[in-house]
């Protein structure tokens, strides 16, 4: 008996929903076995997890704070991966977006610009910062054919070092140099009030603030969807992703597409960085154990893959993953296994990948015919 894979001519629609859902369930099942094997009770651990993610007072508010950057990095990954351009650099592009966005906020806000103008400038600068950082691997890929996976990833480390350097190892524009606290522990300079992004509070569960950045993330998802489903640009990018040669023969300008998609992906990640500063941190977080420990850029890849690169699904999955990450952060230490969330995410991604095979192929169990096997010459015969 053995398994064979037959390529499906038509992929049933329900599978593209069933496979991600089953992947998540399977991941929790396997992680449960890991928990059992290491002496934890899976059911009570999962209850703790869901309480801290969605049910406790204030938990939804915290989940939104984590879900917003994840939506940006998820969209950034989806935008590029769709074209089979593997931009693993959303992490670093987000740092650079935070740095440039904060620069705009500190400078213009300090010079008394109106709030709307300052915020608009932060958005633009954040996008530009992310784009510039993403164009390094983009240009290298387009003109030197250098593998963008490795270059974009290595630049994450460089961006992280730069972030730490600006706050901890230099007297930069972004660092708070006045006051008692600044002499004890290095911190980023606080944004002036006009550069702080507004939020809308809903009065349930002790107050949930919808950050402006979450609105930008949803808007970015709509833009991406329209771009990929309704425009020539998106169509050509997808053709290029499916078959490089077909795209080239039909006259798609490959270099230009690579640059455009990398720039777009970087801009979304950079906007996430600006939102991180404007919505939540209100200063540049250079602590190696702060923003850099959270790994939003890498989780964004998991989100994009699970959402099968559909922008709307990215936003939804980002919210669910945000809950998971938030619970992982709040529960850390207190009898809760650290790293569990990463393990679950990894298994989700593995099963989603394995599930892709089921979407593309029909699996058949074939019985080996005894008679045929016996006539085959072999050591046993």
């Amino acid at each position: 008996m053995r398994f064979t894979f037959e390529r499906r001519l038509r992929q049933p629609g329900w599978l593209s929903l069933a496979v991600p859902v089953a992947s998540v369930l399977f991941a929790f099942f396997v992680a449960g076995i890991v928990l059992l094997a290491t002496g934890h009770n899976p059911l009570s651990t999962y209850r703790q997890l869901f309480d801290a993610a969605f049910l406790q007072t204030g938990s939804l508010n915290q989940t939104l704070i984590v879900a917003t950057p994840l939506a940006f990095t998820g969209l950034a990954a989806a935008a590029a991966f769709r074209m089979k351009l593997f931009n693993i650099g959303a992490e670093g592009q987000m740092y650079i977006g935070a740095i440039t966005g904060a620069a705009a906020g500190l400078y213009l806000g300090g010079n008394g610009g109106s709030s709307a103008f300052v915020i608009a400038a932060m958005v633009v600068m954040g996008c530009l910062g992310g784009t510039a950082w993403a164009l390094i691997p983009g240009v290298l890929r387009a003109f030197c054919k250098t593998n963008e996976i490795l270059t974009s990833l290595l630049l994450n480390y460089v961006a992280g070092l730069l972030l730490t350097y600006l706050i901890f190892q230099s007297q930069s524009y972004w660092r708070e140099t006045k006051g008692f606290n600044a002499s004890v522990f290095p911190t980023g300079k606080e944004l002036p009030p006009s550069a702080v992004w507004p939020g809308w509070t809903i009065h349930v569960q002790g107050g949930i603030t919808l950050p402006l950045g979450a609105g930008f993330a949803v808007a970015a998802a709509v833009v991406l969807w329209v771009l990929y489903k309704r425009t020539r640009f998106g169509f050509e990018a997808q053709v290029l992703g499916d078959s490089d040669r077909a795209a080239r023969y039909s006259g798609v300008r490959v270099r230009r597409k690579i640059l455009a998609v990398m720039a777009l992906s970087g801009a979304i990640a950079g906007l996430g960085g600006a939102s991180q500063v404007g919505d939540f941190a209100h200063s540049v977080d250079g602590d190696p154990n702060g923003l850099q420990k959270l790994g939003y850029g890498y989780t964004g890849i998991v989100i994009a893959a699970l959402a099968r690169y559909n922008p709307y699904a990215v936003v939804l999955v980002a919210f669910l993953m945000g809950g998971l990450e938030n619970a992982g952060n709040t529960l850390q230490g207190a009898n809760f296994p650290a790293g569990l969330v990463g393990v679950i995410q990894g298994i989700i991604l593995f099963s989603a990948l394995g599930g892709e095979v089921l979407i593309r192929h029909r699996v058949r169990i074939v019985r080996t015919k005894r008679g045929v096997a016996a006539t085959e010459p072999g050591p046993a015969a």
Binding site: C144, K145, L154, Y157, V158, Y165, G339, G342
Partner: protein, 321 residues
């Protein structure tokens, strides 16, 4: 003489380069069979944590504990690689996404951190570590003393591995088979070579090497467990394979070069040499140089791409041949 910056950089470049060398040799084996594994960083971290755990918990003499630690680390790396192998060889999933998934699953925020925390490893330094093999009098010899005789056993074993892998790939029948599987799996299949088992074996061997690479960090270079201790070494190792044109002897050269770059930051700081934002550029140098080297190697496109296995990154499906 032996304290001059150049000698110290070469000697510590070899020490720092050894994890890179093991990891890139492993990745080379997998890639030569046509399997790209981007999960090196994750496999290294799991190897690092499991090797460290063995030394902390197995109460025997130093030699046995360290040998056991290396074996456990290799096994852990191979187990991690088997997930990737199953997904990309049997299920034919995308090698790129699966490798990334492996790094997320096993990496700094995943399984390695889970294990490190659950086994309470971060509170104490390693009980046993790898030391220089040769007596101190030999290490004092000028120039070759620190460079050749100042190293631990893992360094000498890695030299043996380079020679063994070079011989295996270029002089043996199975080595030839591996290369044909990596170049043209369909042709290899026609010749009666079992593509699936060759790919499985070499992906798992690659994982074992990555595991040893991880353990060589926690047991020789910085003998402790810290979350994410590899700091991107796995990615540099993947780049090294490209840089080395998929040849083991060039992996050695590249690994020591990048090892020396890593050793540069602490050396300059210890000698109070500063040049502009020294902390920033010395720490960023290994990453930036990797990118520069990748660009140089890839810009000659077709000519220098000669080394890449033709079927690298492609799943093999007999019925779609």
């Amino acid at each position: 003489m032996n304290n001059s910056l150049l000698i110290v950089l070469i000697a510590s470049g070899i020490a720092y380069g050894t994890p890179l060398l093991y990891a890139s040799l492993g990745e080379l084996l997998a890639e030569r069979s046509g399997v790209l594994n981007l999960g090196v960083e994750g496999m290294m971290l799991v190897g690092a944590v499991m090797g460290f755990w063995t030394v902390q918990r197995v109460h025997t003499s130093a030699g046995i504990a360290l040998t056991a630690a290396i074996l456990v680390a290799a096994l852990a790396g191979a187990v991690m690689a088997s997930i990737h192998a199953f997904l990309v060889i049997t299920l034919r999933a995308s090698q790129i996404v699966s490798g990334l998934a492996l790094t997320i699953f096993a990496g700094a925020a995943g399984l390695s951190s889970y294990l490190g925390n659950d086994l309470n490893l971060s509170d104490a330094p390693a009980r046993h570590t790898f030391h220089a093999v040769f007596p101190a009098s030999m290490q004092r010899w000028s120039v070759i003393g620190p460079i050749v005789f100042g190293q631990d056993i893992l360094v000498y074993v890695s030299w043996a591995c380079v020679i063994a892998i070079w011989l295996y790939l270029s002089r043996t029948r199975p080595g030839l088979n591996v290369r044909s599987v990596g170049e043209s799996p369909a042709a290899a299949d026609t010749m009666g070579i079992n593509v699936t088992s060759y790919r499985y074996a070499h992906t798992l061997a690659g994982g074992a090497f990555a595991g040893v690479a991880g353990a060589s960090i926690t047991l020789a270079i910085t003998p402790q467990w810290v979350n994410g201790i590899t700091g991107g070494a796995g990615w540099i190792a993947i780049a090294l394979v490209i840089f080395a044109f998929w040849r083991p002897e060039l992996c050695l050269v590249g690994a020591y070069f990048f090892g020396a770059l890593q050793a540069l930051a602490p050396q300059l700081q210890a000698r109070h040499i500063s040049l502009g934002p020294t902390v920033l550029w010395t720490n960023a140098l290994p990453y930036v140089m990797t990118i520069v080297v990748l660009v140089v190697v890839s810009s000659g496109t077709a000519r220098s791409r000669l080394g890449a296995p033709a079927a690298l990154g492609n799943a093999y499906a007999r019925e779609e041949r």
